[in-house]
């Protein structure tokens, strides 16, 4: 009988032994080494053991009886130290065994990030029963806390298990969404929401700096300074194939042990199977392909012909209540068609990716019942053109329903606020409809919803449509873009009503038809989120047009212009000297702008951080000549110098500019302050124009002198400078909170009516609240973008990734 030695009693080698037992029970005399002090168990089911849903005994695959019946010589708890290929012996901790054939099935070991403190007691990986027991023990202490590093499959299963055992759990994930290898952003968002519902905190883009504690783990410190107390830290950041043994024995290895399609290594007497192998450049982390390998290996050993081939994989997460499925390649693209289905009410998201009439990928969340059916279509390469229209509804599809554009509104709870001006909820409107109000006019008359600023009109109409069904004829409204049926106004209202605080939340809850928007909707949604949730939402530079991302105006030749602020149009010799020096140093063209300041044109992108730093050194900050935000405040010389000046128009302009700069607005905002009605600062054609008069200040709004020339309309006559400032700030905030992205103030006022604006601002409490909200936002956004980007670390991004001009291209 031939002698077969197997290193590692894991899931893959266990399957090999089963095949041998079934087909040729007497072919080999078998010795089985395992470093773990036990035989083969279903490693996958450690998660239910962790959560308490199963016991270890229930997940044992091969017990003593099984090994006994096959006369397997078991050497459990004994590690193999080396392989001597010349003598054909395996050296274990307790002695040698010789072989005719050898199988290496050593699996993988968890990757541990070498952070300071990673070796403290209380830091565990998640791979075997010992790790699982350590976690169960930590969870036994009442009120104990766990930090899980890694938001992939394993990390989340660990987190869910620990949470079920009553621990406070925080998951740290370095990427922008959970399980990024298996899920797209939308599904990742729903998963996060579900985990949070069960009390697990999830921190995205969280990078760990240090694990701290005296004798054992006490807390985890993040790069941003956050400190998370922890009794146990689970590191689940990935696995590395265990190949040291094979490498030392001189077998060919890449990232893992290289095998051919017969699972043979570079030594014909030695085979390998499982996570420790590399086939055709691929390495493995799920069991399905390992079982294929095991079958091929068993047949190869017996001299039969078979070959291992790669196949499509699908993933599920074993966390009860988090229903997800992903398979194939689901990145979108040219030649590929996406079919997206979202049901915000049920938290369902499905996305199918079709290429050349075949399904190539599928991601699902919330309702994964049809996952295997789609997986079959992907694997078989079935032509789906005939079922294209109904594919998303699954195999059970019967009728002709299509995605419902009203789903987002239908999903709103009764207490969701529809009309912010009058505090009217969806439930109030539905009651009014049930009481007989059948059209917009009647709703306005009975509930006042949409009777004030009117921006919620679209939503009220949708509530009518949802409630009345076919009895209501929807007027056609202009959607934001092809990614949604909702208008800008609807999107703004729903972001507030449903407290949507991230882009994925908007895409999912409002039923976006594309995975992550387009160049039309993304900048708008980015603005709405940051205007409504300054403290929660993080501005996304990748959703901004180039000028706002690079904080400079791009020119037609790809260079940029640099324009420092000159507060209220005032400057001095020192600033002018710095500008002149910069013009020399960076070879800039100098132009005096129409906005009372100086433009340096023709700056190269890689020089931007340096010129900004020079400007900063001279005390100047960005002029934001490129933003949908505050541009200039033009002033005239006013009472300081002018024989007609009634008030300090220059001073007031400077105060306003210093208060308003840095704030993002739906479109640009320009101010002018003139010292008398002669109006030398051209204040009457600005978004806010102030004319100083003997008795005080006339505040006009809604002026413009671009594509449309508009004269301001009088908003309010203020008596003091303070009152003028308060009204101006409150007006800008009202505009920020309500206007559609890319509507200049005059366009917005034309929609909502100056009367509504005036009435709202005339309410003392409301005006004060607007000012307060503006100031909160400024606490986040009033920062000089130049200073933030002049540091060497930030400046790096303005340089090319690499310079290959000196590399030879053959």
């Amino acid at each position: 009988m031939q002698k077969l030695v197997v290193i590692g009693a894991g899931m893959a080698s266990g399957r090999v032994l089963e095949h041998l037992r079934d087909t040729a029970p007497d072919a080999f005399e078998i010795t089985l080494f395992n470093a773990e002090p036990r035989g083969n168990y279903n490693r996958i089911m450690l998660s239910p053991v962790l959560s308490g849903e199963k016991s270890y005994e229930e997940i044992v695959t091969h017990d003593d009886g099984w090994y006994g019946a096959g006369k397997v010589n078991c050497r459990f708890g004994e590690k193999v130290i080396s392989i001597d290929r010349d003598r054909k012996v395996v050296v274990g901790e307790k002695g040698e065994v010789s072989y005719d054939k050898l199988i290496i099935g050593t699996g993988s070991s968890p990757f541990i990030i070498p952070l300071p403190g990673h070796d403290k007691p209380g830091v565990v990986a998640y791979r075997d029963l010992e790790d699982t027991n350590a976690m169960i023990e930590a969870a036994g202490k009442p009120g104990s806390r766990a930090v899980v590093i890694g938001g992939g499959l394993l990390g989340l299963e660990a987190a869910a298990g620990l949470r079920l055992r009553g621990m406070d759990v925080t998951v740290l994930h370095i990427m922008g969404h959970l399980m990024e290898r298996q899920l797209d952003e939308a599904a990742g968002y729903l998963l996060k929401k579900d985990l949070e519902k069960r009390g697990i905190d999830v921190l995205l883009r969280a990078s760990t700096k240090e694990i701290r504690g005296r004798d054992r783990v006490e807390d985890v410190l993040l790069e941003d300074g956050t400190v998370l107390p922890a009794d146990i830290v689970v590191m689940a950041v990935g696995i590395r194939p265990s190949v040291q043994l094979a490498k030392d024995a001189g077998l060919d290895c890449g990232r893992a042990i290289i095998v051919d399609a017969q699972m043979q290594t570079s030594d014909p007497a030695i085979y390998a199977v499982g996570e420790c192998v590399e086939f055709d450049g691929n390495i493995f982390g799920l069991v399905a392909p390992l079982y294929d390998q095991a079958k091929v290996l068993a047949r190869s050993l017996l001299g039969e012909v078979d070959a291992f081939a790669m196949r499509e994989l699908s993933t599920k997460l074993k966390v009860t209540g988090c229903d997800l499925f992903s398979a194939g390649d689901f990145a979108e693209g040219e030649g590929r068609e996406d079919i997206v289905f979202r049901d915000p009410a049920r938290g369902v998201y499905k996305r199918l990716v079709i290429e050349e009439d075949r399904l190539v990928g599928a991601v699902m969340y919330g309702d994964t019942g049809d996952g295997n059916w789609y997986f079959g279509l992907i694997k078989d390469g079935t032509d789906v053109s005939a079922m294209r229209e109904t594919l998303i509804f699954g195999p059970a599809y019967q009728g002709g329903a299509s995605a419902d554009p009203l789903a987002a509104v239908a999903a709103l709870p009764d207490d969701a606020e529809i009309c912010g001006c009058n505090g009217v909820c969806k439930g109030d409107i539905v009651s009014a409809i049930e009481a007989g109000a059948g059209d917009l006019g009647a709703i306005r008359a009975t509930t006042k919803a949409s009777a004030s600023c009117g921006t919620c009109t679209g939503l009220v109409e949708q509530v009518l449509a949802v409630t009345l069904g076919d009895d209501f004829q929807m007027p056609a409204a202009q959607p934001v873009c092809g990614c949604t049926d909702l208008t800008h106004e609807d999107v703004r209202r729903l972001i507030k009503a449903q407290e949507l605080k991230s882009q994925p939340a908007v895409w999912q809850e409002l039923g976006w038809k594309t995975p992550n928007g387009c160049h039309v909707c993304r900048p708008a949604v980015n603005f709405y989120l940051l205007a409504d949730w300054p403290l929660d939402y993080q501005d996304d530079p990748q959703s901004r047009f180039v000028n706002e991302r690079n904080h400079a105006n791009i020119q037609k030749d790809g260079t940029y212009s640099v324009m420092p602020r000159m507060w209220g149009g005032m400057t001095n010799a020192q600033e002018l000297r710095a500008i002149a020096d910069a013009a020399d140093k960076y070879n800039a063209v100098v132009k005096v702008t129409g906005g009372q300041r100086i433009d340096l044109l023709g700056i190269k992108k890689e020089d931007l951080p340096a010129i900004w730093s020079d400007m900063n050194d001279a005390g100047m900050v960005s002029g934001h000549a490129y933003t949908k935000g505050l541009r200039t405040v033009k002033t005239c010389v006013g009472s300081d110098w002018c024989r007609f000046g009634t008030q300090d128009s220059t001073g007031l302009g400077i105060i306003l500019e210093k208060r308003l700069w840095g704030s993002w607005t739906p479109h640009k905002v320009k101010l002018g302050v003139s010292g008398c009605p002669r109006n030398c600062a051209e204040a009457t054609c600005k978004d806010v124009g102030i004319i100083c008069v003997d008795s005080g200040y006339q505040i006009g709004v809604g002026g413009a002198a671009g594509m449309d020339v508009k004269e301001v309309e009088r908003l309010h006559d203020a008596r003091t400078e303070e009152e003028t400032i308060e009204w101006t700030v409150a007006f800008v905030q009202l505009y920020r909170e309500h206007a559609k992205y890319l509507d200049r103030a005059y366009k917005w006022i034309a929609k909502v009516g100056l009367d509504w604006v005036r009435d709202t601002l005339a309410d003392d409490a409301e005006r004060a609240a607007l000012v307060e909200r503006f100031d909160i936002s400024q606490s986040v956004y009033q920062k000089d973008p130049w200073a933030e980007r002049a540091s060497p670390e930030a400046a790096r991004h303005f340089k090319p990734l690499a310079d290959l001009t000196l590399e030879a291209a053959e």
Binding site: A331, P541, G558, E807, E810
Partner: protein, 110 residues
């Protein structure tokens, strides 16, 4: 094949781009997803806009100057606009981004 390591994927912002200077001009390297990169010419066939500065959505980029939209996979302009940008072989090895310099040389010569 002449795969050259040009940097780490994390040096490219998610849904953003970076440029690599080569002897035939700038190549834009786009990152569309946590783990997906594309390489194209950086210059828009319309009026030379720097595509690396455009908004990246799905596997497409919108030119920053006048909003032409290009597929990053085929390089073909979308919608009513007609035109195409060169696309180049790029791949990921671990987190490293590799560009095939030979191919870049060839395609520009053609």
């Amino acid at each position: 094949m002449n795969w050259i390591d040009v940097g780490h994927i994390d040096d490219i912002p998610l849904r953003g781009a970076q440029i690599v200077k080569t002897s035939i001009g700038c190549v834009a390297v786009f990152r569309t997803d946590e783990q997906e990169v594309f390489a194209t010419s950086n210059s828009c066939p319309h009026k030379g806009g720097p595509l690396s500065e455009g908004i990246v959505h799905g596997r497409k980029v919108t030119c920053p100057l006048h909003n032409w939209v290009f597929s990053l996979e085929t390089g073909v302009a979308q919608g009513a606009d007609a035109g195409q940008i060169a696309t180049y072989p790029v791949r990921l090895d671990g987190g490293r981004v590799l560009l095939d310099l030979d191919e870049i040389g060839k395609r520009s010569a053609a």
